[in-house]
Symmetry: C2
Subunit: 598 residues, 2 copies
């Protein structure tokens, strides 16, 4: 099949010319900056063929550049056939540096101010200014202009996240946000982040795959109303009822007008999520724009007791589905006939059989043998690789349930492991246990504890090149801020946050290992003789950890006890949801290593 | 004795009035921002009586405030008799906030621009500006003006740090700095930090206690000369010879003139150490001031192989002196007649007996019983507290030798420890061993590994309120930047850095524990199967760790092996420097816990 990209690029350049633009920026993001975007917003993929979840193209009259991060440096070369593009590493050669080298005085770089955040626009504008060029907002996205068969925007109805799962009314949440506004002496806050809007109004949507966010903006006033900008036809009667007295539903076409009414008022904007367009409208209307972090981010991350209980319930349900799958895999895989695709499909079947699965929380990563060495492996179309005997199989997956979002990775050996595999698996497990057992004081950040998950790998001259954990939403995004467990995360861990704990080890061309549980941050129970309030993690995820890959000589007494105790809880919690051969298998693979069990 | 402070304050206020100033800032720092200052520069102590190493007074016509950090909130109340001062916590109530509340429009706040850094002056100026007041530099320090018997400035001669200890010529170091200037496209750098000047020119001085820095500024030009601003009479002939062709010695009175000659040239300034005065002179001379970190800081911290070997030699010598002291203490203390002062004096005697002690590296902290619970305990005048039987005795001390600076803490029990003391001591020890054994990848910072020294305390609901470690100079400051092991230290650890490893535990009113060794960062030896270059720590400090305080049941096999191996090396390295009863004692207290010794 002949790739159509050259043609597209030529059309885009014609559009640029007609608007007197020297260039145009095409980010992967839509106007909601999400990891997943709806079909109509796949502009970067349409234009270039690149299918990754993060990237930006910059098209000039004679040059075109595509910037992707470390995950996609190989993939971009496969995806993009058009030789007109040069490929750049987003961090090593950022777009701003490329622009400084390729724009000249008097050039006009076009951009869609709905797709570029306030912070990004500032960076682009600074790069342009350095060479005497300027950054010019366009009224209509040039890709939309040339994309003839662009899919329509989602008109899927919203639905209510009821109090029994949300744990707090929208009214109460809005009152909290208004208290923040009062403290900041602000008249209103513009909320652009779709998971914040979903959380704040206890709503969910089905516009993008995997993530039930609400693709809508909101404007919350300190006094009086909150406005939710969304098409009225997407609001079913029960949602309308739920929003009565909580928010005014405004058509998106009214957004500019409502922003203009903020003249001489102080409006908070989050520069990392708000579109530059919103800032420009507010500034030209003489509103006082104050950049501040989205006030929903922290309360959304700190799950309330109802959400925490929902998470526990969802993880147990999901863990039973995963355990049924692992039992099936233990029976079928040694026959040597399974493919990655068949495994992923079977796991989805088990999840669906719970009767409560809303969606997967991301595309399942079913990685056999050397594919497991690619942390962000995407199975190609077709059946994927065969699952061979005496190879490792890693499966990273999760589900969206109304009561919670799951994310779990298990690594198993089909057949017999090598001594090296066992050594590496056990070191990864020791790191994972170190975090599971950790108690830590108030103020501790992810950057402070990330090393605890790595020290046993470091001791052997090994490491892994991703963070140890990310935040997880409550029937929301599987990647949720503000806290992470990584070297660069300086946000304090607070009670109610859910974080993944997923150290790994990757041997390119051979195999990979990752073990992932979700953890809930909690105030730790006080200990006799303890002097300070500590926090700790409650493990939320339950599913067997493959004992064939564990070298018990490398485990300390405390680590063995954690493992036996964990497996005992797997049986206690999942057993009631499992039956027959699978239950027998579960009890077997969860039997303890040590005898002094309690 | 009647305190003279009220009188001093009145005199200072008269001086303020004569200069039409509404207030005056009196920092503890001298013009070199050091932790230790010469007698003539003890302005804050003279004015207020406060004897801590960090603090600032702000005197207004009717109010006076003294700002100290957490170490000194108790001491300041003892030191300062004058009720005219209000006391404030430096972090909770910073001077800038106090100024905003107490200055009014039109006020003029005086300050000595030689004593206040560029960064601090900016903060003061911003606070003044917010209330419509202004920050006004004075030509003569008002305290000097009213301090009639102010001691004279040091005229002690400098001396050369020879190549056999410095490991690199001043010429070679200057070439490195000039390469930095070239890369920054700068014409010159002004160096204000006295340890940088000492390091760069391979000079040392005896102007301030404990730290052999050179109280002088330097101006290093990219092309041509380097200027060292110091009185010619302080340069003996051998120093003059060493500086020939390296630096031009200029009288300090020429500084302003030389700065003015930088018109239209780009000059680098470190805002954290350069006096605001220097910036003002440069700016008014139309030089282009560029704020940048002192380029000596990093190379000074990364000790070269000669300095590293010097450190090893110095620590072994110092460890033998400390071990002789610990033996003496083990014999004498159980008699119940020793005082803290007697112990500190005896330890100094043992250090002096090496024949190579230049100075202590800080005032010895000899803390018995509850005094050990005060991390920064300063023994009061007189003999200090008695060292009682069945109490803990903590001694934190160090020496300055030509080949290296030492800093070591040992905590011992006189008589019998309680079970709690053993538990706490062992948890502190486990943290200390965790860092000693750690291997870590390039880019790791102190913030990443600080938790490893605390996790065993956290597990029991305990913690300590100071960083785990600080940098240490090479016959220079015992507190040296840029790296530390603390939650807020984001500087990567690099080969050659020397850091202390000193976790602790403090039970106010009862006892305290701290164990401190110095560590040298090194590239770690590669391990079979290892894939990445790791770094690790070489332990530099050798002296017995009190086995009576160790609960061996709490130690893992690896920790026990580290301890036995460490004690075996103590005997091997210190044994040849010790004799008689002390040597017999050393071998006894260093005997292994386990039998599989190599």
């Amino acid at each position: 099949m002949i790739d159509r990209a050259p043609n597209k690029l030529a059309k885009l350049r014609l559009a640029m010319k007609s608007q007197k633009l020297s260039g145009f920026v095409v980010p992967r993001q839509d106007e909601f900056q999400g990891e997943y975007v709806a079909a109509y917003a796949e502009r970067l993929k349409w234009l270039t063929g690149f299918s990754g979840s993060w990237g930006t193209a910059i098209v000039l009259a004679r040059k075109a550049a595509l910037f992707v991060d470390g995950r996609y440096t190989t993939q971009v070369r496969k995806d993009v056939q058009d030789r007109a593009y040069s490929f750049h590493h987003l961090i090593d050669e950022p777009p701003q540096a490329w622009l400084k080298a390729n724009l000249k005085k008097g050039d006009a770089l076009g951009f869609d101010p709905m797709l570029i955040t306030v912070a990004d626009a500032r960076r682009y504008a600074a790069a342009c200014a350095e060479v005497g060029a300027k950054l010019v907002p366009v009224a209509q996205n040039l890709v939309d202009y040339v994309w003839k068969d662009q899919p329509p925007r989602s008109q899927k109805p919203l639905f209510v996240q009821p109090l029994k799962f949300a744990g707090k009314t929208a009214k109460a949440k809005l009152n909290d946000i208004r208290a923040v506004l009062k403290k900041s002496n602000a008249d209103a806050v513009f909320i652009a982040e779709p998971s914040s809007v979903a959380w704040l109004f206890n709503l969910r949507g089905r516009d993008v795959p995997f993530t039930p966010v609400v693709l809508a903006y909101a404007l919350v006033h300190q006094k009086g109303r909150a406005e939710l900008f969304i098409e009225a036809e997407r609001i079913p009667s029960d949602v309308k009822k739920a929003l009565a007295g909580v928010a005014e539903v405004c058509p998106p076409s009214l957004l500019t007008q409502r922003l203009k009414e903020m003249a001489r008022k102080k409006v908070l904007l989050d520069e990392g999520s708000a579109p530059e367009k919103v800032r420009q409208v507010l500034v030209s209307a003489k509103a006082l724009v104050s950049l501040a972090a989205d006030p929903c981010t922290l309360p959304k991350a700190q799950k309330n007791p109802v959400e925490a209980q929902g998470a526990r319930d969802a993880q147990i349900r999901d863990g039973a589905a995963l355990s049924n799958f692992l039992h099936w895999l233990a029976v079928e895989a040694p026959k040597g006939q399974l493919t990655e695709a068949a495994a992923a499909a079977k796991l989805e079947d088990f999840r669906k059989a719970t009767g409560l699965l809303e969606d997967l929380s991301f595309e399942t990563i079913p990685a056999s043998g050397p594919n497991a060495a690619i942390p962000h492996y995407h199975m190609p179309p077709g059946g994927g690789r065969k699952i061979n005997v005496d190879e490792i199989f890693l499966i990273d997956s999760g589900g969206q349930y109304r009561d919670g979002t799951t994310d779990v990775t298990r690594t198993v050996i089909v057949g017999k492991p090598s001594a090296e595999m066992k050594d590496r698996f056990t070191r990864v497990l020791k790191g994972m246990i170190a975090l599971s057992l950790l108690r830590f004081p108030v103020g501790t950040t992810g950057a402070h504890i990330d090393a605890l998950a790595r020290a046993n790998l470091w001791a052997a001259g090994l490491d892994f090149d991703h963070g140890t954990g990310h935040g997880v939403g409550s029937f929301l995004s599987v990647h949720e801020g503000p806290a992470r467990i990584s070297k660069v995360s300086h946000v304090a861990l607070k009670p109610g946050m859910i974080l993944s704990n997923e150290p790994g080890y990757y041997k390119p061309g051979h195999y990979g290992i990752r073990i992932e549980n979700l953890l809930l941050v909690q105030e730790a129970q006080s200990i006799e003789g303890g002097e300070r309030q500590m926090m700790g993690f409650e493990t939320l995820t339950f599913a067997p950890i493959d004992r064939h890959l564990i070298e018990t000589n490398l485990l300390t007494r405390d680590e063995l006890h954690w493992l036996d105790d964990y497996h005992a809880r797997v049986v206690t919690l999942l057993g009631p949801l499992m039956t027959g051969e699978a239950l027998v298998w579960l009890k077997d693979v969860c039997s303890p290593f040590t005898h002094n069990q309690h």
